[in-house]
Symmetry: C2
């Protein structure tokens, strides 16, 4: 019998055997440690970050290392004056957006408006030094703080205890940073991958809806905003705005400048008409100057710590997912590489002092390097030092308008429609996120969406599709008869393709399903009164990437079932992993090497040969012929 | 351009086109509702339970329906005297095992020994009527109550409040039953599938270890047992024993009778020597008669309810998983069918009065039908009514011995070694279950094992393998060069096989990985100083069973990346689902129908044709040629 031992690859063992069929190889045995090493590498270092370090002199390695941690060292030396001009313009543009937005979102989060400005410039500097995206402009996510507001609001009443609230906000941000940095350092980038595009669309649409509804209050001059929130909508909103404005960059300038303009006009108007005395709410006094480091303000009180950590982690994951997505989409345009894990570390560092936003403006403002972030930071700093009094008269209505304008850009119903057309399940995920956020809250929306997405992956494995294959006319190719209407069944032979790895989660299902296919086939043949009954079952394992021990015992049982029905089981094209395990589990000997084929075509050929040459029940002679030659 | 519209299947559209290549078909469009219906059917009714009802007259349908719910109606009429003789012997054999075990395990669970006997006969009757396995003998799982003991023990102190404890035990069993029945009614059988073979081996080994350690106390006559637990070990133990005893069924009788024998001998010895007066613990008084229905004793006090429910569910899942596994393995021998969901309902009904055990004995005692269960039930009932006094003098040591004997059979180290050889990850799962149970507790062990198993499924999708394909000598077949040492790379063409569905969870990884493969290939070509550089990248989508919207945009980006490098992207053999979605998402138009091939062979053929005929950079003429003919 062609058992496992004479299957280990050796030059001649691959030649065609006497019956002109190819050998299915068991891949060369690999030491456990090495295969483990490979697996871990693929899991945690898919982007092979140390690629560039290979065979370099130590000093070069050191420099590369520094550049890896601080990309600024890489592009810094090559920095020119034209670059600077571009960056200057870009920086100022962003600032013009950053300042009103900073104030708006701080206000939204029930934080002192001034904080919005602070958090615009420190993180920007950090990212300029550590970030790997040249276009991702960073600054306030008071929007991020909005998420906090909604979560912190549950434990602290902002009216009763504003100071505690403020400190918790700092603490949560700190944990966001810590969490992101750790994810990056431990190469857990792929956690973020579990937020699908559909999830983000639905989630942000929902958040934007909620925020808009609350802003209407602001516009109607009602009591200041409740603590609802979305996360990275601003970035996305502007991103989508610029998408629209791709064709006419002139108009883009207007949309980028609009917020600042309206703030200025609004303020002047109020100042002249003294409207603030007639009930129009204004920002009021902003204290000048840079704020003291907030390390002192961190609150690790065990009562609030869980909330702070939870808030921090949720904020972290969302902002990362979006930040990396946006950064990557720009990287696509300019063809450079974004290292997800590196990004996380950078974001983390930023968040340990405060979060980010506003890429697309930067990109469209034609920035060349992260220097634009530095310029932006400086302009904001100048504003802080000298210009804050100007905002005294800015009416809150304007801020609300700015926010709503940003939010409306986010509710991406076209994307939702696209999802419905292309992939119903993605649409379901998207909707559940949207509805969860709008009618319940952020966490529920997220959990629902992610839960569904993961469930889909599990169901894919738990309920793999099994396809009946037929022969494509004038070819030796066998394909699904559902997909190819012209594929012809082969009389007496049932060919099944299994479309997923055979794991514990689907062994029971596959056993049931395969026997059902056999029943159906035999019923069909009976009813159609075929001369030749079912004789062979061929399992095409091409799409079975892997198998576990439960899967192997399932194959064992399937073989028993098929034998008992007086049929023969053949396997077509089992992959390397599968062959390895079938070999170790001695299943190759159970089924017999001569029943394993390189292609469905060869399997069918052999079966037909036996069908027509000799009595199919005693294929021993053919088997002998095979096994001898094997 | 060969866009989607002219691809809808129509007889002629499948003919070879002018260039002699086959068309890749988009499967005929299916109304959303029907495809949804199919999906749900496959998910919840994989075994097609209503199959036999198809085209039957209504009266027949009704009878079949009754038989479906109560299998006894199916075999009852065909019942003969020989059957009864076999069942009688089998029933008595089981009883001889059931009685001592019932008492032992009740004692273990700190429940009155008498309960062990009660729960041996009522469930047996239920299962006899409703169960679909002829060989699964049901009765006490005071072992199941052991699991309860450990979980209930945390909230109630048996010494202080034995009555409350007893009632909670009843309540938990009730919920076990309710949960199992619901699972079955809602066709959620597949939840049990997520307990892999590896998990069960490790879990039961661990539990058995714990129980043995505690029994030693019993043997050494220490204070009575702590509340530790395993679940279905008895069944498995006897199952494995009989496996060993397959060859010599004579000996099997001994092993089956042993417990009763030792109980009798032990009791007589104590009775004669009056050892009970000298510190040998005995069972003591057992009250005669049938116990009052325990419905009154259910305790729904909100303080204890959560624990009761939790305990019930854990017990339920485990016992189901094992019960179905064992039942199925017998069904294998005798070639009849076990309906997982129906089993659940039956088990559920049983548990609403108490759990099960002891299949293998039944099987080896050669029972013919579930009547053996009835016989067993009757014998136990007789024991209850008249023979309980005999157990007065049974020394606890004997019970401990019986338990340990059963447990030792369970620690299936051979299975663990097999796992290590065949599948390292399964071994890891098994060990984590074992260690979790031994060093922490049942729940932790389970959660660890199931968590790992699910993680594996997720990782399979999050980090799919990508394989480089080469040509198998003297064939048009392309296979992994890792598996087939003799497969030859095709100069100028990189062929990649993706081994998993392209879902949100792996899009980022695949993007990175594919570009890395391209880099590596180009480096290799450079270093080897090949004449012809890399020109084409062929993605073999055979193993890509499905794709979501994130996946499609990933393909879009990959195409951009490849175009930018001046290469050409071709797809080979996308499946029905994939073609459907690529079509809806208009990706077929982006890439061009002429770049999608039925097989890798044809793709390579076309690429080579272009490589050698015309300048590869401008393949437009060829494309035209294709698309016109398309």
């Amino acid at each position: 019998m062609g058992n496992a031992d004479d299957m280990n690859p050796s030059a001649e063992s691959y030649n065609l055997d006497a019956t002109g069929r190819h050998r299915v190889a068991v891949p060369p045995p690999q030491p456990f440690v090495r295969s483990l090493k490979n697996t871990l590498k693929e899991t945690f270092f898919p982007d092979d970050p140390l690629r560039q370090f290979k065979n370099q002199p130590p000093t070069r390695k050191f420099i590369l290392g520094l550049q890896y941690v601080f990309p600024i060292l890489e592009w810094g030396p090559r920095y020119t004056l034209q670059f600077f001009r571009a960056d200057l313009i870009a920086g100022i543009t962003i600032a013009s957006l950053a300042i009103p937005q900073g104030i708006s979102y701080a206000k939204l989060a029930n934080l002192p408006p001034i904080l919005g400005l602070y958090s615009s410039f420190v993180p920007a500097l950090v990212y300029a030094v550590m970030g790997s995206s040249r276009d991702l402009a960073v600054g306030t996510v008071a929007v991020g703080s909005l998420l906090m507001a909604s979560m912190l609001g549950n434990v602290v009443n902002i009216q009763e205890n504003p100071k505690l609230y403020l400190h918790l906000a700092f603490t949560a941000t700190f944990f966001t940073g810590l969490f992101e940095a750790l994810l990056g350092i431990f190469r857990l980038g792929f956690i973020v991958d579990f937020l699908s595009h559909a999830t983000i669309v639905g989630f942000m649409g929902g958040a934007a809806t909620v925020v808009c509804l609350q802003q209407l209050k602001g516009i109607l001059g009602l009591e200041h905003f409740t603590h609802a929130t979305d996360v990275v909508s601003v970035m996305r909103s502007i991103f989508s705005q610029t998408h629209k404005s791709k064709k006419k960059p002139r108009l883009f300038w207007i949309s980028a400048m609009a917020p600042l303009t309206s703030v200025i006009l609004g303020s002047i108007l109020v100042y002249l008409t003294h409207a603030e005395k007639h009930g129009v709410q204004v920002i009021g006094h902003l204290k000048k100057g840079i704020n003291p480091p907030s390390i002192m303000d961190l609150n690790f009180d065990s009562v609030y710590l869980p909330t702070a950590i939870k808030t921090g982690i949720v904020t972290g994951v969302i902002s990362l997912a979006e930040g990396i997505a946006v950064g990557r989409s720009f990287a696509m345009f300019k063809n450079y590489h974004i290292d997800g894990n590196k990004e996380m570390i950078a974001f983390g560092m930023m968040n340990i002092v405060g979060p980010f936003s506003r890429s697309a403006v930067n990109f469209n403002a034609g920035c060349k390097t992260a220097v634009s972030n530095i310029v932006m930071a400086l302009s904001v700093m100048i504003t802080l030092l000298f210009l804050t009094p100007l905002f005294h008269y800015t009416p809150l209505v304007v801020l609300s308008a700015i926010i709503i304008a940003a939010m409306l850009g986010i509710i991406d119903y076209e994307a939702a429609i696209h999802l419905w057309h292309v992939d119903k399940f993605d649409f379901l995920v998207c909707m559940s996120a949207y509805i969860g956020v709008v009618f319940a809250n952020i966490e529920i929306g997220l959990v629902m969406a992610i839960g569904l997405s993961v469930l889909r992956v599990l169901l894919f494995v738990a309920r793999p599709r099994t396809l009946v294959l037929g022969n494509i006319p004038d070819s030796k190719v066998y394909r699904s008869v559902d997909q190819y209407q012209n594929a012809n069944n082969v009389p007496g032979i049932l060919i099944l393709e299994i479309d997923a790895p055979i794991y514990f989660a689907n062994t029971n299902y596959l056993r049931e399903r395969i026997s059902r296919w056999i029943d159906d086939e035999e019923d069909k043949l009976k009813s159609s009164g075929e001369m030749v009954g079912l004789q062979y079952v061929i399992l095409d394992l091409t799409a079975v990437a892997n198998i576990d021990t439960s899967g192997i015992s399932m194959l064992d049982e399937v073989k028993k079932i098929i034998d008992r029905r007086g049929l023969k089981l053949a396997l077509a094209n089992p992959g390397g992993e599968v062959m390895k395990k079938l070999n170790k589990a001695k299943f190759l000997e159970t089924i017999g090497q001569e029943w394993i084929f390189l292609t469905v075509g060869e399997a069918v050929g052999a079966c037909n040969y036996m069908l027509h040459s000799c009595n199919t029940k005693t294929t021993s002679d053919v088997s002998e012929k095979y096994s001898n030659s094997v």
